[in-house]
Amino acid sequence: MAEVKLVSISKSYDQGKTWTLKDINLNIDNGEFIAFIGPSGCGKSTLLRMICGLEDITSGELSINGERVNDRPPNERRAGMVFQSYALYPHMSVAENMAFGLKLAKAKKDVIDERVGEAARILQLQALLERKPKAMSGGQRQRVAIGRSIVQQPRVFLFDEPLSNLDVALRVQMRQEIARLHRRLKTTSIYVTHDQVEAMTLADHIVVLSPLAQDATTNLEQVGKPLELYHHPANLFVAGFIGSPKMNFFDGVIEQNGEEESRIRLTTGESLKAYVNTSKADIGVRVILGIRPEHTLAETDNGNSVDGRIEALERLGAESFIYMSHDTIREHFIVRVEDSLRREEGSRIRVELPPEHCYLFDAKGIAFRRTRAPEIDH
């Protein structure tokens, strides 16, 4: 059990010419479940590997339980890791795989047997103990990989996209198993994934990382509870990354500012109300208005609506997505409707954007505070 603290951690593979990670600050409390999420290339796996010692830390300070561990090799950090490829030792049986670390630590045989037995029981691997990894299914291998870290009783569990090699059904099942396991062991866990569903369902807090832009000071975009990221994204990147399908964005300017509500004029001329606090912004500055597809209302018009042409319709049965064109958007904007629409492709409809569901970002992408969204304790 441990607290993990990252102070201004940065990573460069070429002596500072280009950076993969910059100025990452995090406090992970004892027993917490943290997910690192971000598109590929954002450095989330690198950050994980730096925590367990597989990559060295270019600058910054990493401490576990208050002790600086920057220069400690992996074998001295007491972190357990579950790899994407499982990384089971092919020449050892399941029992040997799980006992390997304890044997290296010169644990007594009865301790080893007890811990391996315990882990096997928790993960329902008792019947497979003598099998070689080759003779097992993906889900079973995954369980062995988890078991291998459990028996070590690590201070931190690290998961590196552990479910990405599994098929969908198995992924859901394993996700629940990992959640159950964490409830039971209450070990600090860090979970890297590119799948926001996994992050939203498993994590206490989510850390959103972005690929480092040329002149950015950091690529840590936001740390927060799952619903906090959903309702109060700190910036355009998080807003666009969390939620599926993606949030729609419209370009515009502030027409009327205020603490409780504001009015935005889109570049196409439509004037829209949004419950956001823009009291610190001047009238006329460029902003970006966002709304999630699931919050739009097709063919309704309460005065807060935009007009668009239906480009494509995706009917999924329970819900349908309408891909619409609008002059302020280069691509489509997406509208979710529950019943299938009677309209054909090519026809024009109005879409209501309820003001309490609108997000607003300034030209740099920083979010304005939403005033009528659910408040989440940090």
Binding site: N75, M81, A87, Q152
Partner: protein, 296 residues
């Protein structure tokens, strides 16, 4: 192929078979001949493939047992063949084992660890392995002459010097093993590191057990190369009892002292174990040659 074959297939198969057997007959002729020669009487007798009056004379001499001729005179074994064979085996086993240890650790570093000049070292190694030791014999000779001043058992005319000189063949094997290591998932060793293994333990308990096939190939290749090596051994070794088989065997066919029959028996005797080893390990060697060759 389960394809439907044309009707003249039968004739083609028979032609192929006949061609194959004729070819084999030509190819294997030297082997039949040498066995036959080893059973002839005397060193100058000529005769048909099946000796008319077979005698074990040459075999006795090859095994180091004096042979009593029909007229009662005794022929002493001309050369200590078994000593040579034993020398060759000693040198081959020691040098192959050393090559294996050094090439394996070196290959591990090249495949897995980060250090400066790695790429340059690899390229240099690639080019260096093509320089034959033959060309640097003058240097190798002087080197061991010098070493011998301080460590006599590594000086000239010692088996130690030959063993050590064969380590130069290591560069090729480093490439071979490195290629194999790179096919093994790196995360296995990372998992071991997380499990608390030092880099050495990860190497010893995870990577090595998984690399046994290539290690066997390298050992066998180095062993055979060492047994068959002639130039270096011929320069470094001088006294009769220190020769390796490759250098010693040459003594049989001196124009002044032409011992054809004795050579035949010695050749069969000493060539047989090596051939059997090669054929037994054939599959592995073939795999090693092709993969190593193609990967460079």
């Amino acid at each position: 192929m389960a394809m439907v074959q044309s009707r003249n297939l039968k004739y083609r198969v028979w032609t192929a078979r006949i061609v194959m057997w004729l070819f084999l007959l030509v190819i294997l002729f030297p082997f039949f001949m040498i066995i036959s020669v080893s059973l002839r009487t005397g060193n100058f007798a000529t005769g048909s493939l099946i000796p008319e009056n077979p005698s074990l004379e040459h075999w006795y001499l090859a095994l180091g047992i004096p042979w009593e001729n029909a007229d009662g005179s005794i022929t002493q074994p001309p050369f200590p063949v078994l000593t040579w064979l034993w020398n060759s085996i000693k040198v081959a086993i020691t040098s192959s084992a050393m090559i294996l240890i050094l090439a394996t650790t070196g290959a591990y570093a090249f495949a897995r660890l980060r250090f400066r000049f790695k790429q340059q070292m690899l390229t240099a190694m690639m080019i260096l392995q093509m320089f034959p030791a033959v060309l640097a014999l003058v240097a190798i000779y002087s080197l061991f002459d010098q070493i011998g001043d301080y460590i006599p058992w590594l000086g000239l005319d010692s088996l130690g010097s030959v063993t050590l000189a064969y380590l130069g063949g290591m560069a090729l094997h480093i490439w071979l093993i490195k290629g194999y290591f790179e096919t093994i998932d790196n995360s296995l060793e990372e998992a071991a590191a997380i499990d608390g293994a030092t880099p050495w333990q990860a190497f010893r308990f995870v990577l090595l057990p998984l690399s046994v096939p290539i290690l066997a190939v390298v050992f066998i290749l180095a062993f055979i190369a060492s047994i068959a090596e002639y130039p270096v051994a011929s320069v470094l070794l001088q006294s009769m009892d220190n020769l390796t088989l490759a250098v010693g065997s040459r003594q049989y066919l001196n124009p002044q002292n032409y011992l054809w029959g004795d050579f035949a028996a010695a050749a069969v005797l000493s060539g047989l174990p090596i051939t059997v080893i090669f054929l037994a390990c054939q599959r592995w060697i073939v795999g090693g040659l092709t993969s190593g060759g193609v990967k460079g």
